[in-house]
């Protein structure tokens, strides 16, 4: 079932990867998500999701340069693949379509 179907959290992670462009590595993604969603996002969860997204082929990753800050360990930077981009776009358009179907009058009366 490795299709373009995205879970809610997967979508958020994927969006963050896209938004961070060249700085998208696990800790940064984690911070970004925490600050934007307001919920505390666990690093382990982000890791697992990134791993799954990579398996699905929605992101690709490579190791960056070694820095002193991380005990000499390199960061793994993530980038959107074409499939990833397509998945995000299709998710957005699906939502837009659904949004468009709500009559504005009915929406306001809710």
């Amino acid at each position: 079932m490795k299709g373009t179907n995205l879970g809610e959290f997967e979508e958020l992670v994927l969006l963050t990867v896209a938004a961070l462009i060249n700085e998208a590595y696990s800790v940064a993604i984690c911070d970004e998500l925490s600050s934007h969603t307001g919920r505390s996002v666990k690093l382990g969860v982000v890791h697992a999701v990134l791993n799954r997204l990579e398996e699905k082929g929605l992101v690709k990753s490579e190791l960056g340069e070694a820095t002193k800050a991380r005990g000499g360990k390199r960061k793994r930077f993530y980038q959107l693949t074409m499939q990833g981009k397509a998945a995000l776009v299709s998710a957005k358009s699906m939502r837009d379509q659904l949004w468009a179907r709500i009559p504005s009058l009915a929406w306001e009366n809710l």
């Binding site: 800790v27 382990g44 890791h47 791993n51 799954r52 991380r70 005990g71 360990k73 390199r74 793994r76």
Partner: protein, 882 residues
């Protein structure tokens, strides 16, 4: 940008991640962890950061991060553990005798461990039912009077409670409890003695004592309100509703304003009833002393600091107002301390004021607990030594198995694991057996002393079961530790060669050392028991200076003794009667202040009020003068005193000459008294107290009475029953409390008999365990030397020669143990125990050697029987097959 000290994440967690993580992921994963760690160090401090690191390291253990081979390893280990269990089981079955010795020895010694664990867990569960238990503290008073520290008291003044409420910040609740509310409660015709505390409404907010009926906020507010426990209510009112009814206690009428659940067993305070403290305030209205700062003898103050309160700030506020109060006092200084609720039962020993029965709840000092733990550990270790010893001794039998395992590819750690698994298996088997022993021993331990019954229940709880299993595994690991190390070092080449026996000798010293330690400990235990027992018997039979034979002491409580005396004097079995205020020689004391000519020189003397029959009945020896002459009816009218020689010595009355002291005037408690008699010195206190000055004055009907009846009867139980029936007529409410003097003396020293019982029991266990170990060793040595014995016999050695040869080694070890143990015990008693008893009898050689002889005898029987068997064996049968 240098930070202060560089913090590092815990290296073992780091290695753990590196161990399980896939090589491709490990770098950025550890990098992420490090980055988070550094951030957490800055934001939350190094300790928290490390904790988070460890938690995260475990959280990353997911299916996608873990190397596949690790699952395989874990799986393999599981298979191997199965194999270890199987080989261990076979090994246990193959060597039935050794397994039996090991399991039985461990089981016996572990039962002590189980009892101790149950005991400790019970003590630990005290007061845990209070919701705010972790925050509740009790005030401890440190009293210094006349610049002499007289100790820490668990009690304090009512004023302390008031001042805390007014002046101390950061306190959520304070509650004052006043002890010793007791009396006979009367409901209709139903009369029952009842006891409890005076308490405030805040009690229910500090402690978690749930109320069944009534309002906890107001129940203890008004004067003359009482809250009963469910049991007390049932006792007084039966099935009727008690709430709102009245009970009469002595002369006062109280209204029942609440019924509460019974106080749980594991509570350091226990009571049947709570009376509003305002009652005590009302009844003591005229007493200025009641709420004074120095009246600290019968109240306890508990406080509940608010959550996150600064305890240091509270302490400094306490000492601030204590200092202020002390300014007003001349000779007394009181400091306040806080004692956490959970440290009341197991914690520092605090003094209770005199005359506060029922208030001294269960208490155990940590030192005693540590001693018990130490003694139990010694016995358990002894059994572990057995295992270690026998396993290593039998190494040759198993060395080929290890060699084979190693050849096939087992590493050191696998062999270690195997032997640990075997030891743990044995100790778990022992656990089953020791649990049965635990069930048998439990009632014996609980019934050993009445204090024990009030202190612990030793009921099985889930946490206890877990503790038992953990304990058994630990014992197994300790027992198997040395064999595991030893066997893991075996090299396969040596195992299959014949040189292996050479290596064994290196461990001979270790084995000998273990046997010596075992026997030294055993001998110390048994000689301590023997010496302690003899000393205890000497104390009981000690000549107190007066006769206690066949004297029954009847405590009249609040009843007048006249009717009882009349009834008793009509009984033919009763040959003598006397009255006194207290019973001496068992630790009771009644003090008085005495002066002679110099009005500034006063001394505390011990007193007793006795009637004219007391001295002859108890056979007190008068050195001069005679018995009381006058028969005053009130304490005001008494003017005669009989003193002991120490009084003459203390005040240098008539140059210490008893004859001339008769007729001299002294002042006792502010009253002029004439000395009419001088007694020989006798033991007023217990045997451990030095003899001090004692003065007897005449007993008057104002005093409480203890009737001493000398009884000469062929059928004691029937006589006692008759006396009891008389008591029932006089006082139908209270139970008959009478004891023979000798029993009372025995009870006064009951802590010694408890101690001797415990040590005696432990020494019995230690002997059994050590003997079993020795037996195993003897069996093993003789078995391995059977061929040698056969050859020696063929060559012409006699049975005597062979026994000498086989048992020599063991006898040397035993002698070494005896040489260490006996002097050690002797000096222990000489320097530690006996200096506390000024009138002790010296330690005799006989009781020292009794223990030694017993142990040696058992050892001889075991060594002898086995060596004799070996020495008598037919050399043909032994040497026939190779």
């Amino acid at each position: 940008m240098k930070e202060q000290p560089q913090h590092h994440p815990p290296s073992w967690a780091q290695r753990f991640v590196e161990w399980y993580c896939k090589p491709g992921l490990v770098e950025d994963l550890t990098g992420d962890l490090n980055e988070c760690f550094e951030r957490n160090v800055r934001s939350a401090g190094p300790r928290r950061a490390k904790l988070i690191y460890i938690i995260d390291a475990f959280k990353f253990f997911r299916s996608y991060t873990v190397r596949k081979s690790i699952f395989a390893h874990l799986f393999m280990n599981r298979i191997m553990i199965g194999s270890y269990v199987k080989t261990s089981g076979r090994n246990i079955m193959r060597n039935k005798l050794f397994s039996f010795i090991n399991i039985l020895g461990l089981a016996i010694s572990m039962s002590v461990g189980l009892l101790l664990i149950a005991f400790l867990l019970d003590l630990r569960s005290y007061d845990r039912f209070h919701e705010n238990g972790g925050r509740i503290h009790r005030i401890t008073n440190i009293l210094t009077s006349n610049s002499e520290q007289s100790g820490k008291f668990a009690t304090t003044s009512i004023k302390t409670g008031k001042l805390i409420r007014e002046k101390v910040n950061g306190i959520e609740e304070v509650t004052v409890m006043r002890n010793n509310f007791s009396g006979d409660a009367r409901v209709g015709d139903n009369i029952l003695p009842i006891s409890g505390f005076w308490a405030e409404p805040s009690l229910f907010r500090v402690f978690s004592f749930p109320m069944v009926e009534g309002n906890p906020e107001t129940a203890l507010k008004d004067p003359y309100s009482v809250v009963l426990t469910e049991t007390a209510a049932r006792k007084l009112f039966g099935t009727q509703a008690a709430l709102g009814k009245t009970i009469q206690v002595d002369t006062l009428v109280y209204q029942v304003t609440g019924i509460m659940k019974d106080v749980p067993f594991f509570s350091h305070i226990s009571f049947e009833a709570l009376v509003s403290l305002s009652t005590a305030e009302q009844t003591n209205k005229g007493d200025k002393h009641f709420a004074e700062w120095t009246n600290m003898w019968s109240n306890s103050v508990y406080l509940l600091p608010s959550e996150n309160a600064d305890m240091e700030a509270i302490r400094s506020q306490l000492s601030a107002f204590a200092r202020e109060e002390n300014l007003a006092e001349e000779n007394t200084r009181i400091e306040l301390e806080l004692l956490p609720l959970y440290n009341i039962v197991v914690g520092e020993s605090l003094r209770q004021s005199e005359g506060g029965p029922g208030f001294a709840g269960p208490h155990m000092s940590p030192a005693v607990l540590w001693i018990l733990v130490g003694l139990a550990a010694v016995v358990i270790l002894s059994a572990c030594f057995n295992y270690t010893n026998l396993s290593i001794a039998r190494a040759m039998r198993r060395i080929k198995e290890i060699g084979l395992r190693k050849t096939i590819g087992a590493g050191k750690s696998q062999v270690q694991l195997q032997f640990l698994a075997e030891a743990v298996l044995i100790s778990l088997a022992a656990l089953l057996l020791s649990f049965l022993l635990f069930l048998v021993l439990r009632p014996l331990l609980i019934n050993m002393a009445p204090e024990m019954q009030q202190m612990v229940k030793l009921n099985l709880t889930p946490s206890m079961v877990v503790a038992f299993i953990v304990f058994a595994v630990t014992v197994g690991v300790i027992a198997g530790f040395l064999p595991a190390i030893f066997f893991s070092k075996v090299s396969p080449i040596n195992a299959f060669g014949s040189v292996s026996s050479v290596k064994m000798f290196k461990h001979l010293t270790l084995r000998r050392a273990l046997v010596v330690i075992q026997y030294t400990v055993t001998l110390i235990f048994i000689t301590t028991t023997a010496v302690g027992y003899v000393q205890y018997k000497n104390i009981l039979a000690f000549d107190l200076g007066f006769s206690t034979a066949n004297i029954l002491n009847i405590n009249m409580l609040d009843n007048k003794p006249d009717v009882m005396l009349k009834e008793l004097s009509e009984m033919p079995e009763v040959t003598g009667l006397s009255r006194s205020l207290i019973t001496t020689g068992v630790g009771n004391a009644w003090g008085g202040n005495m002066k002679y000519k110099d009005s500034r020189d006063s001394a505390l003397v011990m007193t007793n009020h006795v009637d004219e029959n007391y001295l002859p009945l108890h056979d007190y020896k008068l050195v001069a003068g005679g018995n009381f002459i006058a028969r005053p009816a009130t304490a005001q009218a008494t003017g005669e005193v009989i003193v002991n020689r120490q009084v003459l010595k203390r005040f240098n009355i008539s140059a210490n000459n008893p004859g001339n002291a008769i007729g001299e005037q002294i002042t006792l408690n502010g009253r002029k008294m004439t000395i009419v008699g001088v007694m020989q010195d006798f033991h007023y206190g217990k045997v451990e107290n030095l003899i001090g000055p004692v003065a007897f004055t005449f007993w008057t009907p104002e005093d409480r009475a203890i009737i001493s009846a000398k009884i000469k009867s062929a059928d004691m139980p029937a006589t006692i029953a008759r006396i009891e029936s008389v008591w029932k007529k006089i006082d139908p409410v209270h139970p008959f409390t009478a004891e023979f003097y000798s029993e009372e003396i025995e009870n006064a020293y009951s802590e010694f008999s408890t101690m001797i019982k415990i040590i005696g029991f432990l020494s019995f266990l230690a002997i059994s365990v050590a003997s079993m170990g020795l037996f195993g060793m003897v069996v093993f040595t003789t078995e391995t030397r059977l061929k040698e014995i056969g050859i020696r016999k063929v060559m012409g050695a006699s049975v005597g020669n062979l026994i000498h040869l086989l048992s020599r080694g063991f006898l040397i070890l035993l002698s070494v143990s005896a040489l260490i143990a006996l002097p050690a015990t002797y000096f222990f008693f000489k320097t530690v125990v006996l200096p506390n008893f000024p009138y002790h009898t010296p330690v005799q050689i006989t009781e020292m050697s009794v223990g030694l002889l017993a142990v040696l005898l058992i050892a001889f029987i075991m060594i002898g029987s086995q060596t004799l068997k070996a020495a008598r064996s037919n050399p043909v049968a032994v040497l026939k097959n190779e």
